[in-house]
């Protein structure tokens, strides 16, 4: 009985996660190509996608490393890109309090944009799910996403190795970052944060060791949060 509902939760998750292949596959291919073009070997490119599995931060790291930014700054910037996942972790944690620690660790490895969004929506809409069903659903959403990410990275790295410079792949990173940010510009606070980031990153380009970007990002975060607080004050 319990195992049938667990299985159906898994299959439901699989069904909800699979459409994301439309996004994951091209991104993985692109990362494989861009990483290889930047001079990383196959093992290193795959290392990023296996150990980090966070596309935007991987692109950011590869971009900064082509600019020979110091190691510590590469790591700090990449982790700053991933800080939003602390928010995911906080919002999904209450649903997973009865899950065993090692499973929670595995689920943390797999907490990406897609599994988080699907998981929280399902757990909110179906409050009477058992712990096992929650784990099964989450696993179902993640499997297609992760497998597609690894395989498409591999294919991009192998087949994209000899793309000539005419294809202007230098522009793949900014274009994908702009495309990722654009849908998030839904409030004045988000727009202000993004503009602050752009203006300060350009103005602080002279600051050594890539620190200008980190300063720009921290100030932009504060600007976004500050304006959000102001707007709430007006609404109330």
């Amino acid at each position: 009985m319990a195992s049938t509902t667990t299985k159906s939760a898994f299959l439901r998750g699989l069904g909800h996660g699979t459409p994301f292949l439309i996004i994951i596959l091209p991104f993985g291919l692109l990362f494989g190509v861009v990483g290889t073009e930047a001079g990383f070997n196959l093992a290193e490119v795959m290392g990023f996608s296996f150990l980090v599995i966070a596309g935007a931060s991987q692109f950011a790291a590869v971009q900064l490393m082509t600019e020979n930014v110091p190691t510590l700054i590469v790591i700090l910037t990449a982790l700053t890109v991933n800080l939003r996942m602390a928010m995911y972790s906080a919002s999904i944690a209450p649903y997973l309090r009865d899950v065993s620690m090692w499973k929670r660790a595995l689920m943390s490895y797999g907490l990406v944009d897609q599994t988080y969004a699907l998981g929280v929506a399902e757990f909110e809409n179906t409050p009477n799910l058992s712990t096992a069903e929650r784990v099964a659903y989450f696993t179902g959403t993640g499997l297609p996403v992760f497998i597609a990410w690894y395989i498409s990275t591999y294919l991009g790295a192998v087949f994209g190795a000899r793309i000539p410079p005419e294809f202007a792949l230098d522009f793949a990173v900014p274009i994908s970052f702009l495309a990722l940010v654009a849908p998030a510009l839904k409030t004045i606070a988000h727009v202000a944060a993004a503009l602050t980031s752009v203006v300060l990153a350009l103005l602080l380009a002279f600051v050594p060791f890539g620190l200008g970007l980190i300063i720009a990002a921290l100030i932009a975060m504060c600007v976004g949060a500050f304006i959000e607080t102001k707007m709430e004050g007006h609404a109330a």
Partner: protein, 109 residues
């Protein structure tokens, strides 16, 4: 790119461990304690605070044109943003940007 193999693997491993710890933070370590709302508020803005800052110099001063502003890349970036804001479709927005870039490079030579 100018890093030793060990250095590259150190960066990959540190990013892997660090990203895992960020994801594991509340699920595994902090538990269900309430997080101060100002922290959540700051975290909400991390993607829009970091990614445009990385993109901006690449859009305005691309290395491929010797750091000179380039109409093809400026227009491609504008189209990418416009389509992304209008449709909220990431893949469509990237495709439009790429088509614009290649089209401009073809016509402008």
């Amino acid at each position: 790119m100018n890093y030793s193999d060990a250095n590259i693997w150190f960066i990959i491993a540190a990013m892997g461990v660090g990203t895992f710890l960020i994801r594991f933070s509340f699920i595994g370590l902090v538990g269900n304690r309430d997080i101060p709302s100002w922290i959540l508020r700051l975290l909400r803005y991390t993607p829009v605070a970091v990614l445009p800052g990385i993109a901006a110099p690449l859009v305005f001063f691309p290395e491929a044109t010797g750091g000179q502003p380039d109409p093809a890349r400026l227009l491609a970036a504008t189209v990418t943003m416009a389509v992304g804001i209008k449709t909220k479709n990431v893949i469509l927005s990237i495709t439009s940007g790429a088509v614009t870039l290649y089209g401009m490079m073809y016509f402008l030579g």
